[in-house]
Symmetry: C2
Subunit: 359 residues, 2 copies
């Protein structure tokens, strides 16, 4: 480090210098600099000695501003505008965080997680605090919304931001998303079910203020139309297991409108829906085929194993972290990381030929 | 806060004061103090004005040390010495974090998560960095180990620490744990199975370097003995779904040693084990009863619903955060929060009378 190695001898002034502090503390100038800039590599006792020397000499860095501005926090923020139990209830987030952590950990970065509840202004307040208190170097966002106001806010706050997912229209944000055709996995799932003879396919969708919800529903309808089919039912639902159970009860209640296959917006809902169907006496896949979305670990734990549309959430998380580091290094042009493999169908045991009691 | 309200008028010196900065920036002295101490409530433009004024006057707080020492980070650290995918693979952590976040969010605190991999020194390095760089106000630990060295390290680093779980012997750490008899839930599970006529009960346990693993195994053996029984088998396993599948294959392979009921160390393992048994042709609970541990959401999603030993992980997380705030407020005597309800059996559908093919 090309730090200044001592005071300029000729000029005497009342003002203590960094070298005076270093001398009194018995450490190098660069060690004092590290303490001031909160950089690693200084033991707590040495740190204390430096702080004591600085206090004794009434020395402080020529501009505190430099220290306050310059030091990286080595933390990336993630604010979830969801209920406190979101990590437990929606493992999608946990998998994404796994991917983010896989890149942060080797760089000695941590992920500062704020789960702020569903009140809309709470997320904005959290971003403002993170920016004002300089607690993170940047933030990773998820769940792109229609008319999303977060990107403009973060631009005003000068907080670097990376979105996991597809921005709505020309939202001004670096984003990472799966490569290939938008939601090709949905099309593959529809083809898979149609090839198995299904003509009555329902879709249990997520809340329609999410960008991906709207995209996926469109692809679902277009893919059915290409096979000369129309959706048997589309149920718009919350992303919860309880909502999935209610949707399945509703879908299976009327024999004349009963689907032989159901696509769910995520794996948790699909597993809950599968159990609800079996509890109502429908065997899976004999009487009802089930398809999930995300390829979460739960899909492989259950019996029958869940057919699902796999997206590489771990790689999406890794890419988001990589893009963030590129932004922080001042090379936004390289912040667009290599594309993540497109979502695609993973056929397992929960789908089978149409032709059971509902077929 | 008793911040200095202005310069002493009598004495003139070359050194600018906080009041000069406040005057130049057109803000109050306390606003300057807030900027310097990274406290909330200052808008970014105001903050910028203060920093510019400080730079122009070449002013810095009388002791940078005060700023560096005094400011809270509003972050609590959690270091997991586990693989990057731990949150996805072991939802136990996700639920605990949900509880921690439920207390942190209203206090405007975030959780700084470091998942550092399983190399033993990585966790220590992470704590050292967190302490040296003052990135968190304190840390919450989990997975108490036998001969745990983390508490002594954190004491040396002066990093306040709260353990979720039972410390080994007299480890010097504030801990939060469930009330009541240690692992009473295991006893209830054994009684439940014995009452259902089971005489051949196996246990798939976690790694034996964990304190809770050792405690629970002892309680399991003692509870069986009280019913005049001995464990059919104890399989020591990793906390993974794959390990659970291997354990079940092993347990069901030899008809003469086959258990009619299996307790698992966690719910993920229990669900994976249940699916493995069914894939081998054993109906649950007709041929094999299954009990999990933790009461994670997955247990209610699957069919049959999982009988499990419920511990209130959300409340444990909340209590850990509450204890941390008490420590940070300098009232360690009140850091021992109200006890969390004891673990207890939640009978659902995966346990039934002994007497199937293996009974």
């Amino acid at each position: 480090m090309a730090a200044q190695q001592g005071p300029r001898r000729g000029k005497r002034s009342d003002k203590p210098t960094i070298a005076d502090v270093a001398a009194l503390a018995g450490v190098s100038v660069s060690a004092v600099s590290k303490v001031v800039n909160n950089r690693p590599g200084i033991s707590p006792p040495t740190r204390q000695r430096v702080l004591d020397a600085a206090e004794k000499l009434r020395w402080s860095p020529s501009a505190t501003a430099v220290a306050l501005r310059g030091a990286r926090t080595r933390a990336i923020g993630m604010v979830a505008g969801r209920a406190a139990d979101v990590l437990a209830a929606d493992p999608h987030f946990s998998v994404l965080i796994s991917g983010i952590e896989a890149e942060l950990a080797p760089a000695d970065y941590g992920l500062l997680l704020h789960i702020v509840g569903e009140e809309p202004s709470a997320e904005e307040r959290a971003y403002r605090r993170l920016a004002e208190e300089r607690r993170v170097d940047g933030v990773i966002l998820t769940e792109s919304r229609i008319g999303d106001t977060r990107f403009e806010l973060l631009r005003q706050l000068r907080l670097p931001a990376v979105l996991v997912g597809t921005p709505w229209r020309d939202d001004p944000v670096v984003s990472v998303r799966a490569g290939g055709e938008q939601d090709a996995g949905i099309r593959e799932a529809v083809d898979h079910l149609a090839d198995l003879g299904h003509r009555h396919i329902a879709y249990v969708s997520g809340p329609e203020d999410r960008v991906h919800t709207v995209f996926r529903r469109r692809v679902f309808e277009a893919a059915l139309e290409e096979r000369g089919l129309r959706p048997t039912r589309i149920v718009v639902s919350e992303f919860t297991a309880d909502a999935a159970v209610r949707a399945v009860r509703q879908l299976l209640a009327e024999p004349q409108r009963r689907p032989t296959a159901v696509l769910f917006a995520n794996d948790t809902m699909a597993v809950a829906g599968m159990s609800a169907a079996r509890r109502l006496g429908f065997e899976v896949p004999r009487d009802l085929s089930i398809v999930g979305y995300d390829d979460l670990p739960i899909g492989e734990l259950v019996y029958p194993r869940l057919t699902t549309i796999g997206q590489d959430l771990v790689q999406l998380g890794r890419s988001a972290a990589t893009a963030m580091f590129a932004l922080l290094d001042g090379s936004p042009e390289s912040a667009q990381p290599p594309p993540v493999r497109p979502p695609s169908l993973i056929p397992r045991e929960s789908t089978g030929p149409a032709g059971g009691v509902g077929g």
